[in-house]
Symmetry: C2
Subunit: 354 residues, 2 copies
DNA sequence: GTGTTTCATATGAACGTTCAAATGGATAGA
DNA sequence: TCTATCCATTTGAACGTTCATATGAAACAC
């Protein structure tokens, strides 16, 4: 009654061979070593490939080549924690970059380090991935040791925060340079009293960004005494911390903030005092999350070049996959200031006044 | 000089067989059809499996079984658009759900529909995935037709917004029911004049949510005239729209908002008038994005049950993969109100007053 | 015209599985 | 004791590739 085959079966290398009147190994050569074929047979085979829409079956290549062309990456439960959204952007960039090199990204869900290692174990033992891109490095991170010990290729987006007995490739954003650039940006717009709203001491990333602010201020001869406050991340916290500074005798005229959420909070505090964000008091956030463009005026922020980081992560990882003895490379890339209304003295003018 | 092999090669079914003194096919049987083995050989084989840490190589299974146990999902460039972050949560849930059924999620980057279809083409022709989970359905969506035509298994998270000549399985969140619940929640807390802050007419999702508000208000006998405003998404827009309503002669005492960004904006407007969010004017957002918990007071929101949606997406997709003739199922799931400070008359009390 | 080289193409084998079918030893029935 | 039945295990084959090697025809030198 019903047709047995509506959709034609996917062509194999043999059906192409039959179509082109050659042996199937010749088709393989046409694709993998075209210089071996006589030009006329090459075009004939290639036309058959085209005509039948043939693409080598992934599973068969994988088996033969002992590779998967797949990169593992952890999907985090970002449940309510922060408005990072950095992950989403990085993931897109990573996937694009991998694809450009002929690789795919396979995602796995993991809750903590142990959970993630269990996933490593699973994927590696099944030979389901060629390597991993790690993110969210932190102190006492057991993941790198586990992978290094088993000689599983990996690259970390996020520097090691402590000495390890082994080396591995990593990339990171220079948070220090980011707050330096942010502070310089505000100073270039004429601000002398620049405040800092940060996270409590103890977080690797937060301390790094704080240090950058301090260094830039010292370099520029700007005061920092009584101009820095720190607290847990959040819009509400940012409002309170900024309000505290604004209520002082000599309030800052600009804020460098450790995160976009803090910066949005600072913007509220400024508006709450009847001041205009950008004109009266400048604000700059960090991460350039979607938050930055959803507020009014749009918020300046320090943007991590996730696209190029992702690309370099893939490059480094593939180097290691191709040759496990390849050199270990590490690099710190500088984020850039994205200037928007929240740090412009006047809305329409460009942000490069002296 | 250097050791030839630091890490032992991954065990294959044959090395297990040698270790357990059986043929390698018996090892396969032990794993896939244990009832065929005599109990003592079964335990012996299983112990060898355990001891060597053997796991069947994915590529070999894939080739033999003509399957990949991989689900394709598009990674979107959420660049600066909105604070959705829904995607991130869904992705985690999808990955978990897939894994529980023995599947992995492979990500691909695509910018628009055509780009995504090109990725379908690529992945399908290489036999790299067993099926797809779609998201972000919209009017004139060419993706479903493409997949349906080629009989590629797929499920859509997001209903079809127009009639199609073919059927497919989909799941969606009932935005209508969400705003109904939000409105009822506010009414239950004693509010009679409930405003609505929405998106401009024309967006499928926005109109659906607006209709829910209207229906609930009508049902409860509440006024809506002069209480609804609409504008493009954003915190700033929310502030302006809410300020407009609050400035009226008979302002609303509560806001149902089409998104969390709008709701955060409304909270600002309320505070700006010197009123207390929650006590004086209640606010409820939609999506329960990270934004909701990053503000002060924490914001009530309508939460999409992404975890169960992801699970059901996987279930439906695997049904179709297992049997392409399996029934087409569609279902609309109801989101739930997450009550927090922004809609509580008094901070510490539970949100169930009359 | 025979022997050697060269190049294009074909043959054989392997990657690690799973499934269908064959084998062989034990048990039961005559 | 011989054949039939059963069950545990083994044998054979296949999934679709790619790589190493063998073949054979044409081209060249002698």
């Amino acid at each position: 009654m019903s047709q047995p085959e509506q959709v034609p079966a996917r062509p194999t290398i043999k059906s192409v061979a039959r179509h082109a009147q050659v042996s199937y190994q010749t088709v393989s050569n046409a694709l993998n070593a075209p210089e071996r074929l006589r030009p006329d047979t090459l075009t004939r085979v290639l036309r058959s490939v085209e005509e039948l829409g043939y693409r080598p079956t992934q599973a068969a290549r994988n088996l033969r080549l002992q590779t998967t062309r797949l990169i593992g990456f952890r999907s985090t439960r970002s449940d309510g924690q922060g408005v990072s959204s950095i992950e989403s952007r990085f993931l897109y960039a990573l996937t694009s970059a991998a694809r450009d090199r002929g690789y795919g990204v396979i995602l796995f869900a993991a809750d903590g380090d142990e959970d993630e290692i269990a996933m490593f174990e699973d994927l590696v033992s099944r030979g389901a991935v060629d390597g991993f891109v790690l993110s969210g490095s932190h102190r006492h991170d057991p993941r790198t040791a586990w992978l290094a010990e088993r000689e599983v290729p990996f690259v970390s987006f996020g520097r090691p925060w402590e000495k390890t007995s082994f080396d591995y490739s990593w990339l990171d954003v220079d948070g220090h340079a980011g707050t330096v650039a942010a502070t310089e940006h505000l100073a270039a717009n004429g601000h002398r009293r620049i405040g800092f709203i940060g996270w409590p001491e103890g977080s690797e990333v937060g301390d790094d960004r704080y240090a950058g602010y301090l260094a830039a201020a010292a370099d520029l001869g700007l005061p920092t005494r009584g101009l820095t406050v720190r607290g847990l991340d959040g819009i509400g916290a940012g409002t309170q911390l900024a309000a505290g500074l604004l209520g002082k005798a000599h309030p800052p005229t600009a804020f460098v903030c450790v995160s976009d959420a803090m910066a949005v909070g600072a913007m509220h505090a400024i508006e709450h005092r009847g001041l205009a964000v950008g004109r009266d008091v400048a604000v700059i956030g960090f991460d350039d999350s979607p938050l930055a463009t959803v507020v009014q005026p749009a918020m300046s922020s320090v943007r991590q070049p996730l696209e190029s980081i992702a690309r370099r992560c893939v490059d480094l990882l593939l180097d290691r996959i191709d040759d496990p003895r390849s050199a270990v490379l590490t690099s710190v890339v500088e984020p850039t200031v994205i200037a928007r209304g929240s740090s412009n003295p006047t809305q329409p003018s460009p942000p490069d006044g002296a």
